[in-house]
Structure formats: C-alpha cells, structure tokens
C-alpha cells in the first residue's frame, strides 16, 4: 500500500478548462457582466463577483426522452392500495417523477474573479489612437540594472561581487591562509634543529606564494552595470469637469458620475497610478473633493471658460505634461453664456488640447428628453465647430442611464480592428 500526500501538488488543475469555458462563453459572459454592472455602483464593478449566463448557449445536448407513459416505484407508501387513482397535482407530481431527468436550470451561475470580470468588462476597448501616439512620444529614459561589468566608475563598484570573485580565485590558486603561517611559526618556537630548517623553508615558500597571489587582484573587480531604457509614463491624471449650476438636475449628475467612474476604471487598467481632479463650475470654478463634486449644493450662472482656466492652472502647477498623461471629461447640460464662447475655444485649442491625451465632452439631458427635437445647445454648437476645425474632441449626448456604457464603449472602441480588417 502506498500513501501519497498530494496536498502540495500544484492546485487549480482546472484553470485551463475554466479559461476555455470562459473563452467559449465570452459573448454570453460579457453580456452578463455588462448587465450586472448596470445595477452596481461602478466602484464595485472592480470587485468581480457572481454572474449568471443563460444555460442555453453552453448546453451540452444529449439524446433525452420525455413524455410517454411512465412507471415508477417509490418508497414510503402510507395509505395507497392497489387500484387507487391519485389525482395529478402538477408540481408535486412532477417532483416525484424522474429525478435528474429534467434539468430545469435555465441559468448557469458562477463566480468570476476580479480580473476576469474587469477583463471582460473592458475587453474590446482601447485607448484612442491619439493617446497612443502621444504615449509613444512621452517616453522618458530610465535606468535599469543590467548585470556586472569589468570597468566603470568607482561609485558603481560592487563590493560583494568583487570579494566573491577574489575568494574564488584565492581558493582556486590555493593561496595559503595567514592562520597556517601563524601556526607554523608557533611550531617554530619550540622544535628541534632538523625540523626547524624544514619549517623555515616551508614558511618561506608559503610567504612567497602569498606575495604572488594577491588578496584582491584587478581581475576580480566588478562594477554594477546600468542600462538606459525608455520608460513609458505610467501615471495619468483625469480631470472631471462639471457644470453644477442650477440647471443641472440630480439625474444629469448621476449620468456624469457614471461616465467618470467608467473612465476611472478604464484608466486604472492602463496606468499604474491615476489621479483624479474634480473641478466644478458655475460662473466660477473651484477644485473640490469627490463628495462635494457630486452632492455639494451650488448655484450661479454658467461660465465654462472658468473651469477650463482652472484646469489649465492645475496642469501648469501640478501635472507636467511630460510626466503625466492627461485625460479630461467634461459634463454639462450644454448651457453657456454666448459671450464665453471665444474664451472657451481659445483656451481649448491653445492650452488644453495640446497637452491632453483625450478630451471628452458629454452633454447630459433629462431622462426621456428627446434630444433630437431640441435645438443644439450653445456649448454643443461651439464644440462641433471646433471639431470641424480639426480639434481632437470627442462629444456625445446622453440622456438615459442605459446609454452610458454604449457611449463609453463607442468612444474607446478598439480601432485597429477596422484597420486590420481593411489591410
């Protein structure tokens, strides 16, 4: 008999099968992920969790029989005698019949890990081309350890490596240890004449050998070597600009919040470090914390240029465009005083857009508001004009909660696919 302890064997043998399953069910799971993310707070989206997909798509069919006359033997008769007729009573009858026969599950539930969830959630999204180009330019040089070298500056001397090599050399060449000589000399002090001569000769050879084989030789010396590598900028800042004037309802703010959250989740996937700056504005702008941003009361007129000015200030003082990828998303109901248009377009084209990777404008409307019949808002008209002049702006209109994801999806859709298909 053998007893084998398998507990230390690598676990998750089923991991590959699981991945195959997810790959196969990708479309279904993706749908489920998007659906389940709709009723969650977007922060929780990052947590992964249980999803359920229709069993139908992942069904493993078999020849199964159903219907017909059935005979069954059951235990636990209490009062029936032969020839009794038992009325059919739907549910309970079916339960007592073929166990394991009818798979009544219509949905298949299982747990996705956080990574799997976010992966599927953002599967086909990409940073826009513009951002990619900038990203390539924004690389800076960094140093990386790259082994050892025999030449270099004394500051880079690697003591441990040098001493290790020296030791190896000394051992290999059998350099006598000082202790051996000391021992022989001690022996020399009290011994007879014949032995003395032999000892003296031996000590002499050893000492000569020590002189020939240095403790540290120039060939032992090693320096740490460094290489320069291009280092992509791994941090991003995300500016959330929002109009909080009286015309913005709770619903509109909620839409904006959802959009910001999605952008945040998305950016955290791409960058190691993401900062968020909240700027709210009426006719003047201020930087606030998240809670105030979404819930703080404010009132006043509307001057979009004030927010852009504030953003520009903050970029200048805190986020050097060389070190940071800058993303901005602006949400507004589209009202802006006409006199402000010039200032806005100037700020955008001259100061903000050149340093930003991406600037999105989201025009939020009331739920059920038919945006088509309304004339375009002043801000929308302005941005459209700027776009026509070639400014890299993304502008979208949203009025329903369910539109947020499609709009977001649309903005960041992977573009190479089309190019690939074309080529």
């Amino acid at each position: 008999m053998h007893i084998i302890d398998r507990r230390l064997n690598p676990g998750s043998k089923s991991l590959e099968n699981r991945q195959r399953f997810l790959r196969r069910a990708r479309a279904l799971v993706q749908g489920a992920v998007k659906k389940s993310s709709q009723d969650r707070d977007i922060k929780d989206v990052l947590e992964g969790g249980e999803v359920s997909i229709p069993l139908d798509g992942m069904h493993e069919p078999r020849f199964r029989r159903e219907g017909g006359t059935r005979d069954m033997v059951l235990p636990g008769n209490k009062k029936f005698v032969e020839g009794d007729m038992l009325p059919r009573s739907g549910e309970s009858r079916r339960k007592a019949s073929g166990p394991g026969e009818g798979d009544s599950e219509d949905a298949f539930r299982f747990v996705l890990s956080r990574d799997e969830f976010v992966d599927l959630f953002l599967d086909d999204l990409e940073l826009p081309d513009l951002a990619k180009r900038k990203l390539a330019q924004a690389e800076s040089e960094g140093l990386r350890r790259a082994g050892y070298t025999t030449s270099g500056s004394p500051a880079n001397l690697s003591v441990s490596r040098t001493v290790r090599l020296a030791l190896a050399r000394r051992v290999a060449l059998r350099r006598p240890r000082p202790e051996t000589i000391a021992q022989l000399e001690a022996e020399l002090a009290d011994c007879d004449e014949a032995r003395r001569a032999a000892l003296l000769a031996e000590i002499e050879t050893l000492k000569a050998k020590i002189r020939r084989i240095p403790f540290i030789d120039p060939i032992d010396i090693r320096y740490r070597r460094f290489e320069t590598v291009p280092k992509p900028v791994a941090q991003a800042v995300m500016f959330c600009l929002m109009d909080v004037s009286g015309s913005m309802s709770e619903h509109m703010k909620d839409l904006a919040k959802r959009f910001y959250m999605l952008l945040y989740v998305f950016l955290t996937r791409r960058y190691r470090h993401v900062e968020i700056v909240f700027i709210r504005h009426t006719d003047r702008a201020e930087e606030v914390d998240e809670d105030t941003f979404f819930h703080g009361p404010a009132s006043g007129g509307t001057l979009v240029s004030s927010a852009l000015e504030a953003m520009h200030e903050i970029v200048r003082s805190r986020f050097r465009p060389a070190d940071w990828n800058i993303y901005a998303a602006q949400a507004s109901d589209g009202d802006n005083s006409t006199s402000d248009s010039d200032a806005v377009s100037r700020l955008l084209t001259d100061k903000i857009l050149p340093v930003s990777q991406f600037f999105a404008y989201l025009e939020v409307g009331e739920a059920g508001g038919s945006t088509f019949e309304m004339p375009d808002s002043s801000l929308w008209t302005l941005y459209q004009r700027l776009r026509a002049e070639g400014a890299p702006l993304s502008i979208r209109k949203v009025s329903e909660r369910s539109e947020i994801f499609p709009v977001f999806h649309d903005l960041f859709q992977r573009r190479q696919k089309r190019e690939k298909a074309a080529s």
Binding site: R20, R64, E66, G67, N77, L86
Partner: protein, 515 residues
C-alpha cells in the same frame, strides 16, 4: 474490550502513520474475515480544492482538456462556495493500483470509514464484478488517459484548438451512444490500443504511394449490385454504437478525428459498468465499511466515541427519504444497496419461512460472505434487484408502483403495492428502473443511402411513448451530421412501426473540414 493502547488513534487527529495503521487493521479484517480480494491500494490525501478539480474531470486524476469540464468546475465551485453542496469524503478510481482520494479535512474516524469503504469495498467490487472484468482494463486506464490527454493536446497543436473542440463537442454529445452493450468482441486492452494507434499511423505513412491515386478505378458498379442486404452487412448494420460507426465509416473524417472519437468511445465504455452497478457498488462498499468498522470497535481498536461518530455519518449516508418528503429525489443507492446486503445477510443466517420460499438457494446456507461475494461478482443492479429484493424489505421500505399514463385523465394509477399480489410486480418494475436497456433511448443506425445523397438514417424505437426531447435531439443530430458530413435523418418509430416523428439535419461547415 482490550486496553486503550491498542487503539488505532485517539480523538480526531491523524497523520500518515495513523493512516498506515488504519489501512493495515482494515486489511486484516477484510482479508481474513470478509475474504475480500482487492487490487493493491494507493491512498492519496488531497485538499478540498483538489477534490473540486477531480469532480470536474469526472473524478479521474488526469484527463484531456475541454471547456465542458471548466463549466462543471465553475458551477460546482460556485455552489460549494455558497455552501449549497458538500464535497464527497472520497473518490475512488477503478484502476490497479486502486487509487482512493481522501480529503485532508476528514477526522481520523472518517478516514477509517473512507478507507474501509473505498479502498476495500469499492476496490473488491471493481476487481471482481463481471461487468468491470468484461469492460474495463484497470491496469491500463491511467496510461490510456495519459495517452488520450497527450493525443488531444497534440491534435490541438497540429490542427487548431477550434477543430479539436468541435470534434470533442460532437463526440461528447454522442457519448451515451458510443458503447458496446454486448460482449463478444475481445476484451479491450488499452495499452495495446495505444500502441495500435501509433502502428496504424506508421503503416499509413509507410504504405503511402502517390501512384495509387493515378490508378484508374474500375467501372462504376450498378446500384443493383449494392443491394440493401449486402450494404447493410458490409457496414455492420444495424449499429447502435454511433461513435463506433462514425469512427469506422464516416466518409470525410480526418484520421485524428477518428482517433478522438475512439478515445471518447473508450472512456464511455470504461464508465459503462459504473452506471449499471450504482446500487450494488455503493451497497457493497457501505456493507463492507459497516462490517469493518463494527469489527474494529468490537476489537477495541476504535473508541466508543469514535464509533458513535461513525454511526452518525453512516446513518446520514444510508438515509432514504420517503416519496412525499421534501428531500426525496429518487432512491438513494447507498440506502437501497446497504439494506439489500443486510437483508441477504439475514436470509442466509437466520431465514424465516417466507425467505425459504422466495430464496431457496441461499436461505439458511450459513456462509454469508460466500453468498455475498458470489452476488457481488455476478450481478448488476437490474438482475440483483430482480432476484434478491425480498418481500420483507419491500414491506419495510413500503414500496409501491405508480403507473402514469398521460391518456388517463383521472390520474395516476397505483398499480401494485407491497402485498402478496404486488411483490413480484413491484420488484420487476424497480429492477427495470435500473435496466440500461430501458434507461437509454434505443437509437440505431439502420441504413446509409450510398446510391443517393449518402444520407445516414437513424431510427429511434419509441418505448412507452417517450419521444426524444426535440431541442436536444436537434442539437445532437447536428453534431452527428457534422461528423458524418452529409445529411442525417432520424425517425422515431413506435412498436407498430408507425413513424411518429422525423428529423433531417444537414452538416455545417466545420473548421476541421477545411483543414
């Protein structure tokens, strides 16, 4: 009672020496008192996570990769995490050496129970039952699974994952119809199979000569020559092993696809005896563990407290809810099997008049283990129940037989109960519930339209009006058509040869077909 120093263990903790002692103590009783004959044992201790892994690959230690196992894993993991499902205490594999997986969470008592149950009960059954002897090759199975795993992986490398997956999907859908039900062929030797697969390929490569392609074929034979009788003979029709038929005759399969079908077919065949002997297998193992544990307790090798712990889990295992109980979901094979084994023990050792009348061969012969060993070796669930379910046990379980005819609007008829008039009918019906001939749909390949469009014709002989589930049948037939590469039709025929329903399915374009 002997002194406590003879105890195998104290409390709940165990280590590997304890397991060894437990195994040796169980083996002593199993050999000398029960006369069991087992494969050598290999006991493996695993974690809960590994148990879940094993669950999802049909309990085997190694298996080829397929998404459906991942699906089962995801599902089981979810329900395990939610606490909906407990894990089995053990899994045992019909192989030589016989591998039993023990969970590390089990207490020492549970490990004893599990070793007695799996390493001796199941092990003896695997080694001695005629179905297992006939259909499985315990020595070769692990090697064969290893071969299968590597072969499928190689195919994926050569032919692409998608093509292999489609073939496996189709083969899995037909798995329940990939079994030879009747012996007569030589026993499967899986090691030799593996070698033959290699030889076949080598021969094909060695005998390849491009010239053969240019040799003109003879004049096309007239359709009259290929008369139905001859054709059916040549094709070995009718054939109920659909996978075998496809492997041998499907016109456009690649050689590797045939091999994959073969693998799935062999694995289905390997599990075939297990599905036919659930009650007996579990009954045997439960009876053996009960005997061994009781004996260990009598000898003082396990303490009263530990024995009570055993009794508690034993009682849970053999619990049979009644039909109107919320928990009822059919017969518990452990309960029915164990009750029948104990009943046979009673009949053999202290029969009453009724037993003498019903079981003249075994009543009062005295040697319980000889009778049981003989039964374990020579019966399957269906024959076991139809011969050894005693009136007394039927009364005890209060069995009754319901006949549900949809045409009868008044309701369901109680056809027989546990009384003098009903014993035989109840017993026959219960045995039938375990008869694979009744459980599986009877589907056969009846003909191939060789002269025409090569349509494959199948026939389902409808029994008691139970037709195939339409949605599933269409899907399975689609898979079948994909493998066959031409149209496939299935007719459902009632006993009077009237066609009740007909399906026709055309093949889809497959990734494999393009390769």
């Amino acid at each position: 009672m002997t002194a406590t120093t003879d105890r195998l263990f104290e409390g709940a903790d165990w280590d590997f020496q304890t397991l060894q002692r437990i195994h040796d103590a169980c083996e002593e009783i199993a050999r000398s008192e029960l006369g069991l004959d087992t494969y050598p044992n290999q006991i493996e201790v695993i974690t809960a996570e590994q148990m879940l892994d094993a669950y999802s690959s049909v309990g085997m230690p190694l298996f080829y990769k397929h998404w459906s196992f991942g699906k089962h894993f995801a599902h089981q993991e979810a329900s395990y995490r939610k606490g909906l499902m407990g894990l089995a205490y053990e899994i045992v594999i019909n192989s030589s050496p016989c591998i039993s997986y023990l969970m590390e969470e089990n207490t020492a008592t549970m490990q004893t129970l599990v070793i007695a149950h799996a390493a001796f009960g199941h092990n003896h059954f695997f080694k001695n039952n005629y179905l297992f002897k006939q259909w499985t090759d315990a020595e070769g199975i692990l090697d064969y699974l290893d071969f299968a795993k590597n072969y499928v992986a190689q195919c994926e490398e050569r032919h692409g994952r998608l093509a292999v997956e489609q073939t496996l999907d189709a083969a899995h859908a037909l798995m329940s119809h990939g079994i030879d039900r009747y012996p007569g062929k030589k026993k499967l030797d899986l090691r030799a199979e593996e070698k033959r697969a290699g030889d076949r390929r080598l021969h094909e490569e060695g005998a390849f000569n491009d010239l053969w392609r240019t040799v003109p074929t003879g004049p096309i034979k007239s359709p009259e020559l290929l008369n139905t009788e001859r054709r059916r003979n040549l094709l070995g029709l009718p054939q109920e092993n659909l996978l075998y038929f496809l492997e041998k005759t499907a016109p456009r399969l690649q050689p590797w696809q045939r091999e994959v079908l073969r693998i799935v077919r062999h694995i289905a065949q390997y599990f075939y005896p297990q599905s036919q002997t659930k009650v007996m297998n579990e009954g045997t193992a439960t009876y053996v563990h009960y005997r061994i544990m009781t004996r260990l307790h009598e000898q003082g090798q396990i303490s009263d407290g530990n024995f009570l712990e055993f009794l508690q889990s034993h009682t849970n295992v053999v619990f049979q809810p009644e039909f109107d109980d919320q928990r009822f979901s059919g017969f518990n094979p452990y309960a029915l099997g164990f009750a029948m084994m104990q009943d046979i023990e009673r009949i053999v050792s202290s029969p009453d008049d009724e037993d003498r009348e019903w079981f003249p061969d075994i009543a009062g012969t005295g040697d319980v283990m000889a009778v049981l060993r003989d039964i374990w070796a020579n019966y399957r669930d269906e024959s076991f129940i139809s011969q050894f379910l005693s009136p007394r046990l039927m009364r005890h379980l209060r069995l009754f037989h319901l006949h549900d005819d949809p045409a009868e609007s008044a309701g369901v008829l109680v056809d027989a109960i546990h009384d003098e008039r009903g014993y035989r009918r109840v017993r026959r019906e219960l045995a039938r519930q375990y008869d694979v001939g009744y459980i599986d749909a009877n589907i056969e390949v009846v003909d191939v339209d060789l002269a025409g469009d090569r349509r494959l014709m199948l026939r389902h002989s409808v029994v008691k009006g139970a037709q195939l589930n339409e949605a599933d049948a269409k899907r399975v037939l689609q898979h079948l058509a994909d493998l066959w590469s031409y149209d496939v039709s299935l007719v459902e025929v009632d006993p009077t040869d009237t066609i009740e329903k007909e399906y026709v399915v055309s093949p889809r374009e497959l990734a494999a077909a393009a390769a």
